[in-house]
Symmetry: C2
Subunit: 586 residues, 2 copies
């Protein structure tokens, strides 16, 4: 069996039906993104992922990265594969054509990215981080800085990093202590950063670090943070590489997973100070960094989904060949596990693609009101895709181990790697708990619940369509979705009513609320996909993929949507028991 | 902070209130098991676990086991610690005094075992496997075989193993192909076994393998399997060790976790045939092996619980010291995580101890009817403790990583090891899916639901007590427990009504049914403990442990018991969608 088969049929279906490709390709400059082109891009990306990246995945896990006197070497084959990746133009898919990008919609880029993560998550982190740097520079750098860095980041010849975390400043970014001092039109950066993905390695010829630091006399906390671009090698006026900057990797971490990705401790300015360029204005660094992080959150959600897909495929293949009395795929309990996995992967994928399509609309649609409205939807769903997507991916990877039984616990079988790799996705780019609080505090409460009500109202419009479809499956889906939307409504109402008088409520309710919203949105997506499948079948399409999609949507409704009732109860329990529990009782 | 603090206060409370120590110590030969003695035993075991075993845990993980020319060496310090363990008499706690055992109740032995697993799960596997061998020999061996092996297994000077699995025979034990041929009054065993925990190592002076194999002309399948005792070294008539038997370790597996425990591929009889002694009668091996496995299942459930406790302690300690704005233990979302962990650990512990106490009653009570009735309860709950206990422990270990955030993903922090270690517990001794099918097919359906109805009726008797307690917490618990019992009743009714006409129903419903039963029993245990805490407080006890217990029980009722509604829905969805999904659709 092949190492990994990119699920291009399901991806394309999700692009067309959840992401509404037709709407996206009617946006300015996206006219080229026809179904034919997207199919061709996915097929080609799938080939590259399956043939070049996937075979390196286990090698990366076993071999890990090597630090030798400040130089980090990726596992055998990674750097060469990265050069092929850059030469193939894959790094440039979604970027601005002015800087050499291909200018394809985020919707399409998102699907392409999913392939890299599924094939080799450690590898996929390289372009993912670069993407954040490109977006940030594209939006916030001066023309001179853009000229210095952007083209080679777009091509992928150089890569990017995000430098937020310090030993005492994790989720509390405002506690960071790295310093920047002016030096002519440049700055000198000093400080130590930890957990820097790809902080140093041998795939690119230069690395552009985006670094948060404080300028002299900056306000304390998050309002006194500025963002700087700090290259590994300074860049000469002609674009060639100059001398080595005062930044180095002093340690790589030994991690549970993603061994093929170096997680670096970076020392900036231990000698003369690392030369950097200010991005945006002083003390606005956090806002700029959030530009990067917002999009990165979607990408991290996608990582979870992608690794889930990979693990699901492995579990199915094993279940077909492993005989215990009969092939274990015939055991109803194993079928339940596989179907749960499939339902989670397909629903989270659809929600991620839907959200990506809304990024495209929110950036490109001619109607400013619609852009703003769609932007609010993206903001609302971003933490959901991140947290629910990663939690689901981890769950799927875990279930794949279970399908393998004893073999799943043996590293040789390769399936445990997916759980180890996926596990980080619930942590970085803001832990899933942080995502849940973002959802409740910034997305649900700040606008008085307008964006959330709007989402639920849109989900409710499916009710009539599901009723009209007239199939038994759609009736089951309709009923379950209605219950879930009702639970989501009541949960939001409870939080709205209570948070004014109870400062702990939002935090106490956040995690079950996010899961409730995630499952409800997943049910919504699966309902849309089931209806689309019905439509295509009614139009004469004869593809087993379509009844399978309807059956998966029905299973999601039967087995997963009912969880929303339990999550509503957890929300409605409020903060009382949680806060009344004394610290010294733990 | 100490590496690990055995939770002896909670353990003792669970022994007294969930395990009803007073009832157990009124059984014949258990009179010595007074609260004072149990307290002293737990304190001493706790000291040994914390001081000797816990510090070796991370060493075992990092160093792993070594195979060199058929000899396996445990990680540095393990063999010496094992000698201390044996010298301290710890191996002998529950065993028959006729063979040197201490003859303490299983209830007490279970708590003591929990300490070993929490301190060092890899180490804890050594006595756990030996315990299975002791029980099996004690019940099924001839006096001559007992004389040869039993005393030194009881003392722990020698250890035991279970040899079931072969490459093509895992959950389907009946497919095994190892052979046994008569050789005088002994047998010659030939075959290969995989996944043999402690199959070879340097802690004991001899290893007694219990091996399943087929005698000549045995029936096919599970009815043609016999059980043999096969020592690593033959034993001379005077009890000294003779020549090496024809059995050797040819590989140790590289695993996700429990690196301190060698998982061996064992080759029996590659030369002259391994000498073995038949236990019980020919072709009755599986029944005998199930004697071992039944008890082992409880022990494995306990492993999950124990590792969960250890991970929970680490998460609490980290949450107290890690400051993000404030110490993160003050964040409601972190408190929810910690409280969920605590609730799961305490509920699963109570259920495991309760079940252990029922083993004591089922073996020792003078009333034969009560023994039989209690035995049925043990049979019913064994798969629940195994599967729900391990699933909960894994979840708690996973949540501990999440509390650590980025540090949780770094192996240096030590918390990821607990997830990696615990993960096997959902797989071995029968995967949790197998446990769920055992619960439905053998325990729920076989007796027409009598044992299960009896359990639910017993839970219902708490209703009046909870009502009479008159506290707000007991009211909340009472309501939630009633809902859970109702869900459990309806789920069982659904399976009873449907399984006759739908062969796939039991398998399709098994996993959600088991989780439903687990959570319901957990809520029952927590309700009992809350009532006991109320009683002690009413009697004037002034210990913060008591209100903490009530608060934890209330949280369990608010946050965890409502899941039973969703699980009921998953059961009631039946097998339709699962079976209708075509194999080629996956």
């Amino acid at each position: 069996m092949p190492v990994f088969t990119p699920p291009v049929v399901d991806m394309l279906f999700a692009i067309e039906e959840a992401g509404e490709l037709a709407r996206v390709s009617s946006l300015p400059d996206y006219e080229e993104a026809t179904p034919d082109l997207v199919t061709a891009v996915l097929a080609e990306a799938g080939r590259f992922g399956a043939e070049v990246l996937a075979p390196l995945n286990a090698i990366g896990d076993r071999e890990g990265c090597h630090l030798d006197n400040g130089r980090v070497t990726l596992p055998n084959g990674f750097a060469a594969a990265y050069r092929q990746f850059v030469d193939g133009g894959w790094n440039a898919v979604p970027f601005n054509p002015d800087h050499g990008g291909q200018g394809l919609p985020w919707l399409v880029a998102t699907a392409v990215q999913e392939i890299w993560h599924a094939a080799n998550m450690s590898f996929g982190l390289i372009p993912m981080l670069t993407q954040g740097a490109v977006e940030c520079l594209n939006e916030h750098a001066t023309p001179a800085i853009k000229a210095m860095f952007l083209d080679k980041l777009v091509s992928g010849e150089w890569t990017g990093t995000m430098n937020l975390t310090e030993p005492a400043a994790g989720s509390d970014v405002g506690a960071l202590r790295s310093k920047a001092e002016p030096d002519g039109d440049r700055w000198r950066i000093r400080g130590q950063k930890i957990f820097i993905t790809g902080g140093e390695h041998d795939a690119p010829s230069n690395i552009i670090h985006l670094v948060l630091a404080r300028v002299p006399d900056a306000p304390t906390g998050v309002k006194g943070i500025s963002l700087f671009a700090v290259p590994k090698y300074l860049v000469n006026p002609d674009g060639s590489l100059g001398r080595r900057n005062d930044v180095k990797c002093i340690k790589i971490e030994e991690k549970l997973g993603i061994h093929g990705s170096p997680t670096c401790v970076m020392a900036f300015g231990e000698d003369e100070g690392a030369v950097g360029w200010l991005l945006g204005k002083e003390n606005q660094g956090l806002t700029l960094m959030f530009t990067m992080m917002n999009n990165a959150r979607l990408a991290v959600g996608l990582e979870g989904i992608a690794v889930g897909e990979r693990a699901y495929q492995k579990a199915v293949a094993y279940a077909r060949e492993r005989v215990q009395h009969v092939a274990i795929i015939n055991h109803p309990d194993v079928r339940r596990t596989l179907l749960t996995s499939r339902a989670l992967v397909e629903a989270t994928r659809a929600l991620a693609y839907y959200t990506a399509s809304r990024i495209d609309i929110s950036k490109r649609h001619p109607d400013a009101d619609l852009r703003a409205h769609t932007h609010a939807r993206v903001e609302l769903l971003t933490p959901v895709v991140k947290a629910w997507g990663t939690a689901s991916g981890i769950q799927v990877a875990d279930m794949a181990i279970q399908v393998f039984g004893g073999m799943g616990y043996i590293e040789e079988s390769g399936v445990a790697q997916h759980l180890r790799d996926a596990r980080i996705t619930a942590i970085y780019e803001g832990t899933n708990g942080i995502q849940a609080m973002d959802l409740v505090n910034r997305k649900l409460l700040r606008d008085g619940g307008a964006a959330f009500r709007d989402l639920l109202n849109e989900i409710r419009t499916l009710d009539a369509e599901l009723a009209a479809a007239g199939s038994e499956s759609c009736t089951v889906i309709r009923h379950a979705l209605e219950q879930a939307v009702s639970a989501a409504t009541r949960a939001a109402d409870f939080i709205h009513a209570g948070h004014g008088g109870d400062a702990a409520l939002a935090g106490a309710a956040a995690s079950p609320f996010l899961e409730l919203v995630g499952i409800t949105c997943g049910g919504w997506m699966m309902a849309r996909l089931a209806l689309a499948a019905h439509r295509r079948m009614a139009d004469g399409a004869d593809d087993p993929f379509l009844p399978a999609k309807i059956a998966t949507a029905r299973f999601f409704a039967e087995a997963l949507l009912p969880k929303t009732g339990a999550l509503l109860a957890a929300v409605q329990a409020g903060s009382g028991s949680i806060q009344a529990f004394r610290d010294d009782w733990f």
